[in-house]
Symmetry: C2
Subunit: 342 residues, 2 copies
DNA sequence: TTGTACGCGTTATCAG
DNA sequence: CTGATAACGCGTACAA
């Protein structure tokens, strides 16, 4: 009883298969009685359309891929990507698309290319993988499959993207520190090869300049968004720059590492040193002390990316578009007034 | 130049389409010269097979679904699920399956059922969603689609599963505490409706009994695996049970919340109170202090689940199977000797 | 070893 | 409003 196809439905309903198809696809020009008869049979036999055949005939898969790097996920693995996936999925579900998940990791690049990109037909791809965009962009272009990027990519202005406004986010984080009286503020950011990191650093600079504070290149530390790098960087900067009373960390993960390093070194947060993070990952309110940070709308990013790619696929939008979501400052307990200001 | 089909390849290579098909599928009985000619054309025109047509003809999609709950992901969102997905994906990639990602969240159950479960044909499903297994099991059964569960489920002995050995894991965690001289050891576990939580609690009991310590039901706290519940539970237990010198937390997330609560209350870890976690999520080595915990092979769980479902699909295995992966104790700094033992 | 012909389940087109 | 009929691209008996 499992497998019943459109022809059987047609037979049982005493109509032709075209009528069944029209009913199922909500086409007009079908009589109420025919529709009724068809629906009865469909319900009775629990008929479900074969998606492979549908795709074949309709020439579209109604399926998008979401591509991450193993690295992005290691780094972001603190609840970031999961929430993002959820956003993508729910938007797709609402629009009757399904999402295929893919990771690209350097050790499987070969496999990946052959299998994923060649043998499979995706209607669109969401790129959550800054590292590989160059490699992929060309491939995607030649196959003419639409893509949207989550994040920014320097050289890829040709493909649509959605991101949080990194510049204004970090700017408001640092301004917060300034308002608390800090003058010596360090920054811990990611690789400057990433546009995102550049923007977050630019925001830091802007906030200082606006406050009339000269930026000191020596207290700009480059990490890689992991807790480990936050820890290591803080450890080594601590003794070299005792004058710094506050650090802007470009991610909550690095901030968490920094917090651990400060604790290990006997510094008090926020008593001796203030820390502000970026992202507002779910753990941020349970660090010691709870982390003041910049909240970015992760779930919304996912939904937005999905909406953009589907609009693109359906032809509703054709020009490339770069969207910037607004972040918020979330004040918790990791920042205090500068001691001298008391 | 984009779309070229098997017939064109055949024409350009001066062979029939069967030959092309056989070459592409590595079937025997094809002459070297024919194979060579075909491959040349394939390369030259960058021919790629249409997966929809393949699925239709072959009557299988070579695609598995991985189903999570929104809840499971909120809770586990500290890098757990991402690593799991990666394991699933890489195993599937190696075996030329693709993976479709799905979430079930209560607010879209309707949509979900209609779209995902009815209209789509998956060869198998990996369930990472304890809450919905009952609802789904029946559906899956009637549609005769194989499923494997990540985790344990009380009533679902009929479907294969893979999990970490929760019992021995928590047992060794608590034994570690006992070895350090602790006699009053509390437990913070998840809902006892979950088999997993039951097992972790059972391991706790076993370790105490083995050590000749009576278990005190009063110091067993029930949380929900979130940092928040760890925090709240610890806050309320702290004053009610000052005699407890060590807590076994059934997840790193709850342990992190507990750590925050202890710090807030002025207790020192491990000076006053020892904490041991479970999972070894990526943040565990950067909590304050770094968390002693039970490491479970998350990535392996994913690969294993994928392997099991594919074996099932291909008919290589037919009987249900329950696998238990071994966990390890990872000693860091959150546990110390009981003061009285000094 | 190769080629022919048909089936897979839908959708779209075009007469009625 | 309805019903043949032709794609859609590939796999595979079966025949040569």
């Amino acid at each position: 009883m499992s497998k019943i196809n459109i022809d059987q439905v047609a037979r049982y309903a005493f109509v032709s298969r075209s009528v069944v198809s029209r009913v199922l696809n909500n086409h007009p020009h079908v009589s109420d009685v025919a529709r009724e008869r068809v629906m009865n049979v469909v319900r009775k036999y629990n008929y479900q359309r074969n998606s492979a055949a549908r795709s074949l005939a309709a020439k579209n898969m109604r399926e998008i891929g979401i591509l991450s790097t193993r690295n992005a996920n290691d780094v972001m693995s603190n609840g970031f990507s999961t929430l993002l996936y959820l956003g993508v999925f729910e938007e797709c579900l609402a629009q009757r698309y399904s999402v295929r998940q893919m990771f690209i990791s350097t050790d499987m690049k070969e496999e990946f290319q052959k299998f994923i990109l060649n043998e499979h037909t995706l209607d669109g791809v969401i790129l959550f993988a800054e590292e590989v965009t160059d490699l992929l962009a060309a491939k995607l272009m030649t196959r003419e499959i639409p893509a949207v990027l989550i994040g920014h990519a320097p050289g890829l202005s040709g493909i649509s993207s959605v991101d949080v406004d990194n510049f204004s986010g970090s700017c408001s984080a640092v301004s917060h520190l300034v308002r608390l009286g800090h003058r010596n503020i360090g920054a811990m950011v990611g690789s400057q090869l990433l546009q995102e990191s550049q923007d977050r650093l630019a925001g830091y600079r802007k906030a200082l300049v606006d406050a009339g504070i000269a930026v000191n290149e020596d207290v700009i530390a480059i990490g890689d968004y992991t807790q480990r790098s936050g820890y290591d960087q803080m450890m080594s900067r601590l003794r070299r720059h005792p004058e710094v009373t506050a650090w802007f960390c470009a991610s909550d993960t690095m901030a968490m590492g920094a917090l651990a390093a400060l604790h290990k070194s006997g510094r008090r947060v926020p008593g001796d040193i203030s820390i502000v993070g970026f992202d507002d990952l779910s753990f941020a309110r349970y660090t010691i002390p709870p982390l003041t940070t910049i909240r970015q709308p992760i779930y919304q990013k996912g939904r937005c990316a999905a909406r953009m790619i589907i609009d693109r696929i359906s032809g509703k939008k054709t020009e490339v578009e770069h969207r910037n979501l607004k972040p918020d400052l979330v004040i918790r307990e990791s920042c205090g007034r500068h001691a001298g200001v008391l």
